[in-house]
């Protein structure tokens, strides 16, 4: 079970599919395959149905939030300094576009192999946080995709029943996002630390309430 071979097989059978192997540096060596969202369902069906792969059991589905961050890279720029062309090193800061990711861990009950790690990425974290739902392929994704929708805010198109699952329906934010801000409620806590302590002080001074 080589990820490279599976990749080329998918490319051969699902036309126009962009795939990328995401290496995993940890000793677990569970490398993953990034699939472009447009073809994800076709790829999933191939993985499930191909006779020698038969990834019929989608074990774990989860979201990961990768917020945008500042990348500073050093680049060499040619500049004319004092009439002479010189190579000067400059640091350029760029804002990488954040995205949300859905990770699927697939196993095969029939062939007893796995895991095969499938990743899907949204275009951004706000308006275009949409991914195709893989629930039609694996029923086990149903509750887990709902959970991702609830906690991360990825909209799964084609999901049969996309509602909040753990938080209540009126809840607005997505608590598992890294930039989630807790509501400013305060409860007395005798051993307050750090931010809780700050909060406690604020409330004692009558700022909050």
């Amino acid at each position: 079970m080589n990820l490279e071979t599976i990749k080329s097989e998918i490319e051969a059978s699902v036309s126009g599919c962009r795939l990328e192997i995401i290496p995993n540096a940890s000793p677990s060596e569970q490398h993953s395959l990034l699939v472009d969202a447009a073809r994800a369902v076709a790829v999933a069906r191939f993985l499930r149905d191909a006779a020698h792969l038969r990834f019929d059991f989608c074990s774990n589905v989860t979201g990961v939030d990768w917020p945008s961050k500042e990348i500073s890279e050093k680049i060499k720029v040619k500049k004319i300094l004092d009439g002479v062309e010189q190579e000067v090193e400059e640091t350029r800061k760029t804002q990488s576009l954040g995205y949300l990711e859905a990770v699927y861990h697939l196993y095969s009950v029939e062939k007893k192999h796995g895991p095969f790690v499938l990743r899907l990425r949204t275009e951004d974290r706000e308006n275009r946080a949409h991914l195709p739902s893989l629930t039609p392929v694996w029923r086990s994704a149903e509750f887990q995709e709902r959970e991702i929708f609830d906690l991360f805010g990825i909209h799964f198109d084609g999901h049969p029943d996309l509602r909040r699952i753990l938080m209540w329906d009126e809840f607005e934010d997505h608590p598992m996002r890294r930039d989630y801000v807790e509501p400013n409620d305060y409860e007395y806590e005798p051993t307050a630390h750090d931010e809780v302590l700050q909060k406690a002080k604020q409330h004692q001074n009558g700022v909050g309430c």
Partner: protein
């Protein structure tokens, strides 16, 4: 095993005589309902006694365990995992320790592996015994089977207490080993408990297995077909009751499970009765594993010396580790960015995913059967809601 010709649940409800066909009754079962094993709700639409629609509602116990863990050191999440499936804290510890060991490439010494197997299988014994007790309670056998199960569980919990210091929140495993070593005295006690357990199982089976009421209530109820079971990611005794041979102890051979000879019991019909039977048989197999482990355990270190307790920082990367917990596949997915706390921490809860097919299993059945179907899934809300 004797089969019975007693009527099963396939009784068609009498056609209603008054009103039209669309007279449905919506019932909200739970969240405070003794049959739901915690704060769990089912929105059931009924046509007379027959279920036509069922939507599970949960989240009442949600505390965002994953978010807490992401702000906690790797070790700091260990006691929190106890509180996921609070009946089997040791297997929760094991799954988390296994995932971290995969992430950081830690080797576990042999004695620690044996201790993990021994405590893990004891956990399975007490979980299955209790689950059967709860299931009987749901069926109306108020008390007796449950109390028998609790009597036996008590002995196992006493073992846990004298080893780990706590009965339920054991917090026993560490990355690369176990927290405390078992004394020879403890192993002897465990041996005694284990040797007495088959007698209890015989007793339990004499009480239940051939009981006609039990058979009438469970056979043909809550049937889960094979294809749906795999597709819906059902794991553990539920999957095997549907006749699929998939036990992670056999498939992944994590830890030292390849050293033990044991069978994987399989069901045929995938109904509630099979799920009961599978659990009884699994307990017998667990005892076989325990016998072998007790015989083979040898002295040695119980903790990998290279793994630090404080300031543990695995290199950047990710890992998914899973074990066969008593309820099914319990997995932990971790992403490390090289800092002392995980970037992403995810629990794959077997209880939650086994609930996916609850509606399918209950459609067309009577309300009373919904209760036992749910009971046979074996959920713990601490794990469903996290």
């Amino acid at each position: 095993m004797a089969t019975t010709t007693y009527p099963t649940a396939h009784i068609t409800p009498k056609p209603s005589t008054d009103g039209g066909e669309d007279q449905f009754l919506e019932v909200s079962m739970g969240p405070q309902h003794p049959s739901t094993h915690g704060v769990f709700r089912m929105n059931v639409v009924l046509d007379g006694e027959r279920v036509v629609k069922l939507k599970p509602v949960f989240g009442y116990l949600h505390r965002n365990h994953e978010k807490i863990a992401e702000n906690e050191s790797y070790l700091g999440s260990m006691p929190y995992t106890d509180r996921l499936d609070y009946l089997c804290s040791i297997t929760n510890n094991w799954a988390y320790a296994l995932a971290v060991e995969k992430l950081a490439g830690i080797q576990v010494p042999e004695r620690a592996e044996y201790l993990r197997v021994i405590t893990g299988e004891l956990t399975r014994l007490q979980n299955h015994a209790c689950l059967i007790g709860f299931l009987m309670q749901d069926m109306g056998a108020s008390g007796t089977p449950l109390m028998y199960a609790f009597r036996e569980r008590e002995k196992i919990l006493d073992l846990f207490e004298s080893l780990t210091g706590a009965r339920m929140m054991c917090n026993y495993m560490r990355f690369g080993g176990c927290r405390v070593d078992a004394s020879a005295d403890w192993l002897q006690q465990a041996q005694k408990v284990m040797e007495a357990f088959p007698r209890f199982l015989d007793e339990y089976e004499r009480l239940l297995t051939e009981n006609e009421i039990l058979m009438a209530r469970t056979q043909g109820v809550g049937v889960l077909p094979r294809e749906l079971a795999v597709n819906a990611g059902i794991t553990g005794p539920m999957l095997r009751a549907s006749g699929i041979n998939y036990d992670i102890r056999k498939v992944d051979k994590y830890g030292i499970y390849d050293r033990f000879a044991f069978k994987v019991p399989l069901g045929e019909h995938g109904d509630v009765y099979d799920r009961y039977m599978i659990r009884v048989l699994e307990m017998r197999e667990s005892i076989r594993i325990l016998q072998q482990a007790m015989r083979e355990i040898s002295p040695g270190p119980i903790q990998d010396p290279k793994t630090k307790i404080r300031g543990f920082r695995p290199k950047a990367g990710e890992a998914y580790g899973r074990i066969e917990s008593p309820k099914g596949e319990l997995g932990f997915y971790l992403i490390s960015d090289g800092s002392p706390n995980p970037y992403r921490y995810r629990v794959r809860p077997p209880s939650l995913i086994n609930l996916t097919v609850l509606e399918e299993m209950c459609l067309g059945q009577n309300v009373a059967d919904v209760v036992i179907t749910l009971g046979s899934i074996d959920i713990v809300l601490g794990e469903v809601d996290r």
